[in-house]
C-alpha cells in the first residue's frame, strides 16, 4: 500500500523547488524593439493578449474547451473536473494506444470484462457498460447493444489532436452514456493535417510481437473548403503471457489475443456545413471467453461500426447560432460464432438521431444553450435460432430529450445551471439537473459542482431484464470541489474532492443457464480525492498526479465488493500515482520517463473446493516506461522506447465476481515509432504537430 505521507512529501518537494528562479522571462518588452512595437497596425492589435506571450503551461490551462459546457471556457473555469491531453503529450510519451494515454489521468483505470475485452473504470467504479461516453469528433463510439467501448490497440492514437476528459458526470449535456465521465477525442482534420501524415509502430514483447500498426492521413483547407481522409490498420496482441483459468487450464496468449484495428475516417466541410464518416472495424481473437479457457482454436470476434454525421452550424446573427445535426450509426459488436456452450452472437443495432441545438449570447456575460434530440434504435438478430425477449428477431425503441443550460459570468463567480430530460418508450424517463460555480482569481481558481446523471439502459439491458417490472435508468448524484493554484507562471497544483452516489445501478449477472441478465440492484459509488501538479519549463516538463477513492458506506453490490476491505472495490487500486518527466535537451530531441504506480488491488484468482471464487490481494505494481523521440528533420519523428521496463506484466482484473481470473497484459515491450508529416503550406507547419 502506498502511504499518504509519502505522497505529500513528493508533492511538497516538487512544489518547493524555486522553479521561478530557473524559468525564463517571457516578456514582450525584452523582445521587441520599442519603436516597431508602437507602430503595430490596428489589425495586429486584435492579436494582443492581456497577459503577454503565454508559455506552454499557460497555453494549456487557458485552452478553450467546450466539452463541459458547450460554450467554450478555459480549463480552470470549465464547469467539470477536466483533464486535457495534447498531441505533443502523446507523441513525447510514445503511447501505444488509448490505454497508455488514459491511465495517466487521475482516477482512470482498466479492467477485463469477458471475451478478452478490456474496459474503463473511473474513480474506483467500473464504467465499461454505459457509464463512460467515448466521443470521437463528437460522434458516440459506444456500441448501443451493451453501451460498451473496447480498449486495446483500437483507435488511431497518432492522429489525435487533443483529448478532453471530463472526470465526472456529463449526462446533463450528453445523456445516458455519460453517467461517470466523458472522453472527447478530437482528431486532426484538414487544416491541422495541411498535407500528408503517415507513420507506424512496431512493438516487440518478451515472446512475440505486441504492436505492428500503420496509419495514413491526408487533409487540407482551401479557402472555406476543408477535407480529410485517414486510415489506421494493424495487428496487436493483448499479451504474450500465459492465461490460466480457475480450473488450471492454460493457454499462451501470443497469437491467441489479437487486437486488429481497421479504422477509417473521411470528412468534408464547407463553411458551417460538414459531413463526417467513420468506419471502425475492430477484430479480436480470444480464448478466455467468460473465464474458462476455450479449447481448440482461438475465437474470432468482430466489432464493426459505421458512423455518419451531417451538421450545419447556422450563425443567425452575432448572438444566436443554431445547429441542426443528424447522425446515423450501424454497429455489430461482440459478434462471434458459438463456443463452449455459448450461442453464436450476431446482432446489428442502428441508431438514427436528430439533434437541434441553439446557443444564444444575451451579452458577453450570459449565454444560454438549449435544444432537443430524438433517436430511434433498431436491433436485428442474424442468428437463426436466436430471438429478442419479444420473441422476434427485430426490436426497436425510441427516445426524445430536451436540454438547456445557462451560464452567467460575473466578476466574482461564474454560475452555470443546466438540465436534461430524457423519455424512452420502454424504460421511462430521467431528469438530470446540474449546478456549478467556478472562477479564477489570478493564481487561484475553484470549482464547486453538483450534478445528477444517469445511465440509460442499452438495448441488451432492456432485452435481458429479468425483473417483471422491467429495467429502469440508474441515477447518480455527484458532488465535486476543486481548488487550484498557480505556483509561479510555469507550474500549477490542483486538488479535487468527489463524492459519487448511485442508486439502483444496473448490474450484470449470468443466470443458471449462463445467459446475460440485468437487474437494478442495491447501490454503489465512491468518494475520494485527486491531486495534480504540472510544471512546464523550456527544457523540462514534470507532471505528477495522485488519485484515491474509498467505497466505504457506498457499495451495496455483492459482486463488486471486497469482503475483507470495505474501502476497496474489485480490480481498482485505492491509491494511484502517475509520474511523467520530459527532458528536451535540444529542440529536436525529447526523453520521457513516466510511471504508473498502482497500490494493492483485489481480485478473484481461484475457486475453493465448493467452487466459490477466492479473493486475493495483489501487491503494488509499477509500470515504468521510457521513450526517446528525435526529429532529425522537420516533419520526421523517430521514436524508440521501452514500456514496462520492470516487466511487471500488469494484469487486467475483472471488476465484478464473474468467474474470470485476471487477464495478463503485455510483457516488457521495446517499441519503435515512425511518423512523417509533409505539409502543403509551410506557414501552417506547427499546427499539425
Amino acid at each position: 500500500m502506498i502511504k499518504r505521507p509519502f505522497i505529500v512529501i513528493i508533492l511538497t518537494v516538487l512544489v518547493s523547488i524555486p522553479w521561478n528562479m530557473v524559468s525564463q522571462t517571457d516578456s514582450t518588452t525584452a523582445k521587441k524593439d520599442t519603436i516597431d512595437f508602437y507602430d503595430m497596425s490596428l489589425e495586429q492589435l486584435l492579436k494582443m493578449r492581456a497577459h503577454g506571450v503565454p508559455n506552454e503551461l499557460e497555453k494549456l490551462i487557458n485552452s478553450l474547451i467546450s466539452v463541459a459546457s458547450k460554450k467554450p471556457l478555459n480549463t480552470r473555469e470549465s464547469p467539470s473536473i477536466i483533464s486535457l491531453i495534447t498531441a505533443d503529450d502523446i507523441q513525447k510519451s510514445g503511447a501505444r494506444d488509448l490505454i497508455d494515454v488514459l491511465r495517466t489521468i487521475p482516477g482512470f483505470d482498466f479492467g477485463v470484462d469477458v471475451e478478452g475485452v478490456v474496459g474503463v473504470g473511473i474513480r474506483g467504479n467500473w464504467a465499461h457498460e454505459g457509464k463512460m461516453l467515448l466521443l470521437i469528433d463528437g460522434l458516440e463510439m459506444n456500441e448501443i447493444l451493451f453501451a460498451t467501448t473496447q480498449f486495446g490497440n483500437h483507435y488511431p492514437i497518432d492522429l489525435i489532436k487533443r483529448i478532453e476528459v471530463i472526470r465526472g458526470p456529463g449526462s446533463a449535456i450528453y445523456g445516458g452514456f455519460a453517467e461517470y465521465g466523458v472522453i472527447n477525442i478530437i482528431t486532426k482534420q484538414g487544416e491541422d493535417l495541411n498535407g500528408i501524415s503517415t507513420g507506424g509502430i512496431y512493438g516487440q514483447g518478451q515472446n512475440d510481437y505486441l504492436n505492428r500498426n500503420a496509419y495514413f492521413a491526408i487533409g487540407n483547407k482551401v479557402n472555406d473548403f476543408e477535407y480529410s481522409f485517414m486510415g489506421h490498420m494493424g495487428d496487436g496482441q493483448r499479451s504474450d503471457q500465459d492465461y490460466t483459468d480457475f480450473y488450471d487450464s492454460t493457454y499462451n496468449m501470443a497469437r491467441n489475443s489479437n487486437l486488429k484495428p481497421n479504422y477509417f475516417s473521411a470528412s468534408l466541410k464547407y463553411k458551417g456545413l460538414s459531413y463526417r464518416w467513420i468506419g471502425d472495424f475492430y477484430n479480436t481473437s480470444m480464448k478466455d471467453g467468460y473465464g474458462d479457457v476455450i479449447p481448440g482454436l482461438a475465437i474470432q470476434e468482430t466489432y464493426n461500426s459505421t458512423f455518419h454525421e451531417l451538421k450545419y452550424v447556422i450563425d443567425v446573427n452575432k448572438k444566436l447560432s443554431i445547429t441542426p445535426r443528424f447522425t446515423f450509426k450501424s454497429q455489430t459488436p461482440w459478434s462471434s460464432k458459438a463456443y463452449s456452450g455459448k450461442e453464436a452472437y450476431n446482432r446489428t443495432a442502428t441508431r438514427a438521431l436528430g439533434n437541434l441545438t441553439a446557443s444564444y449570447n444575451l451579452n458577453r456575460y450570459i449565454n444560454f444553450v438549449f435544444g432537443a434530440e430524438y433517436y430511434k434504435d433498431k436491433a436485428i438478430d442474424r442468428v437463426d435460432s436466436s430471438y429478442f425477449s419479444n420473441g422476434k428477431q427485430e426490436e426497436s425503441y425510441n427516445n426524445y430529450a430536451f436540454f438547456m443550460q445557462g451560464l452567467i459570468k460575473t466578476r466574482f463567480v461564474n454560475f452555470i445551471v443546466g438540465a436534461r430530460y430524457d423519455k424512452h418508450n420502454v424504460y421511462g424517463d430521467a431528469f438530470v439537473p446540474r449546478v456549478g460555480l467556478t472562477k479564477k482569481y489570478g493564481a487561484f481558481h475553484f470549482k464547486a459542482l453538483y450534478s445528477n446523471s444517469f445511465r440509460a439502459p442499452a438495448i441488451e439491458n432492456v432485452n435481458g431484464s429479468s425483473d417483471s417490472l422491467g429495467i429502469k435508468p440508474e441515477l447518480t448524484k455527484v458532488a465535486e470541489l476543486e481548488i487550484g493554484y498557480k505556483l509561479g507562471r510555469r507550474s500549477i497544483l490542483s486538488v479535487n474532492l468527489f463524492d459519487i452516489t448511485t442508486t439502483d445501478p444496473i448490474v450484470y449477472k449470468t443466470d443458471s443457464s449462463n445467459a446475460d441478465i440485468y437487474v437494478n440492484e442495491g447501490g454503489s459509488g465512491t468518494s475520494g480525492i485527486e491531486a495534480e501538479y504540472k510544471l512546464k519549463l523550456k527544457k523540462v516538463n514534470l507532471g505528477i498526479n495522485y488519485a484515491f477513492y474509498t467505497a466505504a458506506g457506498k457499495n451495496k453490490i455483492v459482486d463488486y465488493e471486497v469482503a475483507e476491505d470495505s474501502k476497496a472495490l474489485l480490480a481498482f487500486a485505492n491509491h494511484r500515482i502517475n509520474f511523467s518527466a520530459i527532458w528536451n535537451p535540444t529542440k529536436e530531441l525529447s526523453v520521457n520517463l513516466n510511471a504508473s504506480i498502482y497500490g494493492s488491488r483485489w481480485a478473484y484468482t481461484s475457486v475453493d473446493s465448493t467452487n466459490t471464487s477466492v479473493l486475493e490481494k495483489l501487491p503494488s505494481t509499477t509500470l515504468l516506461n521510457l521513450f526517446v523521440n528525435w526529429e532529425p528533420v522537420e516533419g520526421l519523428n523517430i521514436g524508440l522506447g521501452c514500456y514496462d521496463i520492470l516487466n511487471q506484466k500488469f494484469n487486467f482484473i475483472q471488476p465484478y465476481n464473474g468467474y474470470h481470473p485476471p487477464l495478463p497484459g503485455p510483457s516488457r515491450e521495446i517499441i519503435v515509432k515512425l511518423q512523417y508529416n509533409l505539409h502543403f503550406k509551410a506557414k501552417n507547419r506547427k499546427v499539425a504537430k
Binding site: T28, Y38, R49, L64, N74, R364, L487, A531, T550
Partner: protein, 180 residues
Amino acid sequence: MNKQQNIVKYKATVIALLLLCGSFNSAKAQETDYKAYTLFVYNFMKYVEWPEAQSKGDFILAVMGDSPINKELQALANAKKIKGRNIILRKCNTVEDTYGCHLVFVPNSKSAMVKALREQTKDKPVLIVGEREGMAKKGAGLSFVTEEGDELKFDINKKEIEQHQLKISSQLVSLGTLIN
C-alpha cells in the same frame, strides 16, 4: 484501523494539501502585460479626434494613482509623439488633478473614481479609459475587456465620447464593441 482513524487521516491529507497551496502566497499569476495596454492607449490617442482648441501643444496623458502601467506609458511618452505633439505623462491623485488632461487612464484599483471623473469632466474634451471591464457602462469612453483565450479587446461608449466633444474614427470603432 477504525472508521474514526480513517476520517482523521483523510482530513489530515486534505488539510496538508490545502496548507501546501496556502504556503505559496508569494506566487505570481500570469502578469498583466501593460505593454499591450499601452499600445491600445497609443492607438486611442491616434484614432480619437480632439477639438481644434485642444489639438495644439503637448498631449497630456493622465493616470489615476500608482499603477504598473505608468512605467510603460512613460516609455511611450519618451519614444513617440502624437501628430508632432509631445506626450506628457501626469500622475493624478484626485479628480481635480486631471484638469487640462486629454486622456485619463483609470487603473483597476481606481475604478470607483470613474463616476466622479465623468462628472468633473462633463462636456470637456477628455477621454476616460478604464482598465476594468464594464467601466464604459459607468461613464468611461473606452474600457478594456479580456476575452476567453486572453485576447485583449475594448468596449466603446460612443455616446459618452461624443458628449465630451470627441470624435472616434470608424477604424477604431470596427475593432471594439459598441455598448450603445
